[in-house]
């Protein structure tokens, strides 16, 4: 339902008018001015004691200035506390339920009313017949500093935008008289801003709400498109800015309960015990968290709630916080420490000290493990006796289940075990999944004394908010300016190119790297998306910035690029190219691998070579190829070798974790055990698999190619008869022979048949191979002339249809390369020479 809107006769308009009265406009200036005069006039009082001035008059002058100061000071207070926030008759939540019943102008804040008032005045002055949301944005940019800050964070120039808006407004419909009517998009913007205000629990409609309201207007879409932004970006930024300004405002209210509570409680401390030994080897998190200004724990509220509840349980009140490093485990502890310190946690643990025991410091200072055990025992006793300690040990797995501890390592399971049973001993251990499975789970009695809380990875949206807060600290430290698009780009690229590390840590690390890079090497210290791309490219060795453009070019020319290396196999190459284009055009699921293919065909026909070509074209080199031969994985017992196990890295998962942008070549897939094929079903379908240590390995940035010789005979027969290979029939045979199952084959983007090579193909391949030798010799300034006779002789010697082109490599090595090597060593050919090799493999110089 459309709301009414009329600024006339509203109390907020009255406030604006009062606010423009000189007494209020200049109140702060006069207050400061008269305070200065009052202080200076004390000089007359001093002078009067020396007889240079009449005492009574001096006092009167001082009092006069003090009175004027008080008058203007109170006027300023009255302006801020009363005039600028007049009381409203209704809660805006109720208003939002039936906006049509109210004049929405009544619910504007003072700053918002100034914006609307500015828009009205502008339209009236320029005789624009209707006040539109565009005029509202123009006025907002003119009146509100915060809105300008928002646009600068979005890397949009406020001045340019204002000029564009002005030009567009000048072209609006003009009328002789200004009728004070509002356009439809203006009304919609006001309704949206009302809903926005309700959502953010504002008392009134604030400028940020109006801005979000305007952002949904049609004309604003163009602004967003020009700046490569989405509506979500805009809402995220305003939401964060709103939070940030609120926190800054709250921090200035020194009289508020929360700010007073920062001092802590001396009385409660005196009622608890000393922890002399613990203090030597620990970090009291109270010191870390007491001065937080705008820092907040984002995305882990659930975990903190669970942690608090677990710590006050009557029986087991020890917690094992399980999560991969970088998921925010430390932040959860800090969040708990902050709540506990301010007395905002549960009654039973309010005002406790959250203390992190620094095991590394402890172990580095003592070589004798008995001594360490004694100190630990004393520390745990102190924690119990003090009565206000929540003890934290990070990476607990490093101190549990250690066999044959050496100096610098210790197994504390025995010592801590007896304390964990004591109710007054509150303990939090941090570990990861590998540590849990490999060490802690082995000690089931110890594990039973913990409540396990799993830490989930924060979302991309939450990471953006965390990075926005961090950016402020980094901006201050390195004197740079981090734009919002840079942060958004960072999170999006990190999610894509560094999939095997968790958020938020990878985002935090990257942001720090980008800031340092810009601070050191850029003149203009503004962080833009391209700086992020540059740093990620360096880090991952992937040309990130140009990836989209480059990938488009690659995909469009894929056939040609593959054929630069591969002879024949037109159909196969075409099929691969079509499948890759389909998979990468954004239609296919982003969760699955970039491409997945099954190459069927006899040996030596170019299956591996095609894979190498694809690795080079797509990932920039053959070194980005992870190759596994499935003949080594024919039993269930081979699965741990493939996926890893306790203390063992997986031959498939670890290289993919380390190089997520790779081509995975699985040779002789038909030889793999059925259960191993099932694992590939999951990889092809979901794009991820958990390794033997419980870590998620993502295959979404890999191309998976499985090769197989199965069905080679049928392919040969078809080729001999010069008939096309019946792919459906071939696959049917493979299903009947139970070599593959239909559900396995269906998971691939394409099943590609490679045909045997003909003599003509081999001649072309021979030419390619000899050209490679020719190229190497040319670098030595030696010219190698390839003759037809030589090529034919090589093909004659190596032509065995069952082995394809594989034999040719051997023949070239044995007969050609060895002859050239011998001649080079004997100085028969030197720099500047030209030679050829005859069909009986004799090297002869050719005159130039």
């Amino acid at each position: 339902m459309m709301g009414k809107f009329n600024l006339n006769n509203t109390s907020i308009l009255q406030s604006i008018k009062w606010g423009r009265m000189p007494i209020f406009r200049f109140a702060r200036f006069f207050a400061n001015f008269f305070l200065t005069l009052a202080v200076l006039s004390l000089f007359f009082v001093g002078l009067s004691f020396l007889g240079g001035f009449q005492f009574g008059l001096a006092v009167r002058i001082v009092i006069f200035f003090v009175i004027l100061f008080i008058f203007f000071w109170e006027a300023d207070l009255f302006l801020k506390n009363r005039i600028q926030s007049p009381q409203i008759s209704k809660n805006i939540e109720e208003v939002a339920k039936a906006p049509g019943d109210y004049n929405l102008a009544e619910f504007l804040s003072f700053s918002s009313a100034l914006i609307v008032y500015g828009a009205l005045r502008y339209c009236k002055r320029r005789r624009i017949s209707e006040v539109s949301s565009m005029a509202l944005l123009y006025a907002a940019l003119d009146a509100d500093r915060d809105i300008n800050v928002i646009f600068s964070r979005l890397n949009v120039s406020s001045a340019d935008l204002k000029q564009d808006l002005k030009n567009s407004l000048e072209k609006s419909k003009r009328d002789g008289s200004f009728a004070l009517s509002f356009s439809e998009d203006f009304n919609l913007a006001i309704i949206d801003s009302l809903n926005e205000a309700v959502m953010h629990k504002h008392e009134r409609i604030e400028p940020m709400d109006i801005l979000v309201g305007i952002s949904k207007a049609e004309f604003f879409k163009k602004i967003l498109v020009n700046a490569s932004l989405k509506l979500d970006d805009f809402e995220n930024l305003t939401l964060w800015f709103d939070y940030f300004t609120r926190k800054i405002k709250e921090s200035k209210q020194f009289w508020s309960k929360e700010n007073l509570a920062i001092t802590g409680s001396l009385g409660k401390d005196w009622a608890t015990g000393y922890t002399i030994t613990l203090d030597q080897y620990s970090i009291d998190l109270r010191r870390e968290v007491r001065r937080w200004l705008y820092k907040a724990i984002i995305g882990h509220e659930d975990e903190i709630e669970k942690l608090q509840a677990a710590l006050v349980r009557p029986e087991v009140n020890n917690v094992l916080l399980i999560g991969e490093p970088g998921t925010g485990r430390d932040s959860i502890i800090e969040g708990l420490a902050r709540r506990v310190y301010l007395g905002k946690s549960l009654e039973e643990i309010n005002y406790y000290r959250v203390v992190e025991l620094d095991m590394t410091a402890l172990l580095s200072q003592m070589t004798d493990n008995n001594q360490v055990e004694n100190v630990l025992d004393r520390i745990f006793q102190e924690a119990v006796t003090a009565g206000n300690i929540i003890l934290v040990i990070k990476e607990l797995q490093n101190y549990i289940g250690i066999e044959n501890p050496q100096p610098g390592s210790i197994d504390i399971a025995g010592i801590i075990g007896k304390y964990l049973k004591i109710q007054a001993f509150k303990f939090i251990g941090l570990t990861d999944y590998a540590g849990l499975h490999q060490r802690i789970e082995k000690n089931s009695s110890l594990l039973s004394l913990f409540e396990k809380i799993e830490v989930a990875e924060v979302s991309e949206q939450e990471t953006i908010r965390i990075l926005q807060n961090l950016a402020l600290e980094l901006e201050y430290k390195y004197k740079v300016f981090v734009t919002y698009p840079a942060i958004r780009e960072l999170v999006s690229l990190a999610a894509r190119y560094i999939p095997n590390q968790p958020f938020p840590q990878k985002g935090i690390d990257l942001l720090q790297d980008v800031v340092v890079y810009v601070a050191r090497s850029m003149k203009q210290r503004v962080i833009l998306p391209e700086h992020v791309s540059k740093v990620i490219s360096t880090k991952t060795e992937i040309p990130v910035g140009s990836v989209e453009k480059k990938e488009k070019e690659t995909l469009l020319n894929l056939e040609k690029l593959i054929h630069d290396r591969i002879v024949n196999q037109e159909e196969a190459v075409k099929e691969i190219s079509i499948a890759m284009r389909r998979a990468r055009a954004g239609i296919a699921s982003k969760k699955r691998p970039m491409g997945s293919f099954l190459f069927l065909g006899p040996t030596g026909v170019g299956k591996t070579e095609t894979s190498k070509a694809l690795a080079e074209i797509y990932f920039g080199g053959e070194k980005k190829m992870i190759r596994l031969d499935m003949s080594e994985f024919q039993a269930i017992a081979d699965i741990p070798r493939l996926l890893g196990a306790r203390g063992e890295e997986g031959l498939l998962t670890t290289p993919v974790r380390e190089n997520p942008f790779s081509l995975v070549l699985i040779d002789e897939i038909e030889k793999a055990h059925r259960n191993i094929l099932n694992l590939f079903l999951q990889i092809l379908d979901e794009g991820t698999i958990n390794d033997g240590q419980g870590r998620k390995t993502s295959f979404t940035n890999t191309i998976i190619i499985c090769t197989s010789n199965a069905g080679a005979e049928k392919i040969f027969k078809a080729t001999e008869k010069n008939e096309p290979v019946d792919k459906e029939g071939l696959l049917e045979d493979l299903f009947n022979q139970k070599i593959f199952r239909p559900e396995f084959i269906n998971r691939f983007d394409a099943t590609v048949i490679f045909k045997p090579l003909t003599k003509e193909n081999l001649l072309a391949i021979c030419q390619l191979s000899l050209k490679s030798l020719q190229k190497s010799l040319r670098e030595k300034d030696i010219e190698f002339v390839i003759t037809e006779g030589l090529k034919e002789k090589i093909v004659d010697l190596s032509y065995k249809p069952a082995f394809g082109a594989r034999e040719m490599r051997r023949v070239i090595q044995d007969r050609v390369e060895s002859v050239v090597a011998q001649a080079l060593l004997e100085d028969k050919i030197t720099k500047g020479d030209k030679f050829e090799i005859s069909d009986d493999f004799n090297l002869t110089k050719v005159e130039k």
Partner: protein, 128 residues
Amino acid sequence: MSNNILASWFLWHFYEEPRFLLQVWRNYIQFSIDFFSTPLLLKTLFSPWRRYNWGYPRGFDVGKFFETLTSNILSRIVGAISRFVLIIVGIVFQIFIVIAGAVVFLGWIALPLAVLMGLLFCFGLYSI
């Protein structure tokens, strides 16, 4: 909101701001109670200082027993003295907060009158 600025000021100065000052006053009183935690100090007045407590020896050893007893009594005495001092400091501080709050509160209420009297004094229409 009344269109009369004077009425609006009157309402703000004599109702809204005093209400705000009372809230701030309450926050400070609450803070001083939390900071000194006087009830807790009273409850634990005779507890050992910083929970220093020694276990009595097993078996019959009068010397050791009295040594421990003396130490424990001493710990309680130190605890009681320290807490008593803190309780006194706390009470004094709380009295100060109450008085300071009252002065600010009443001072604010009386501010217009003080300004008026100051003006009269400046122009010689009123003398102290």
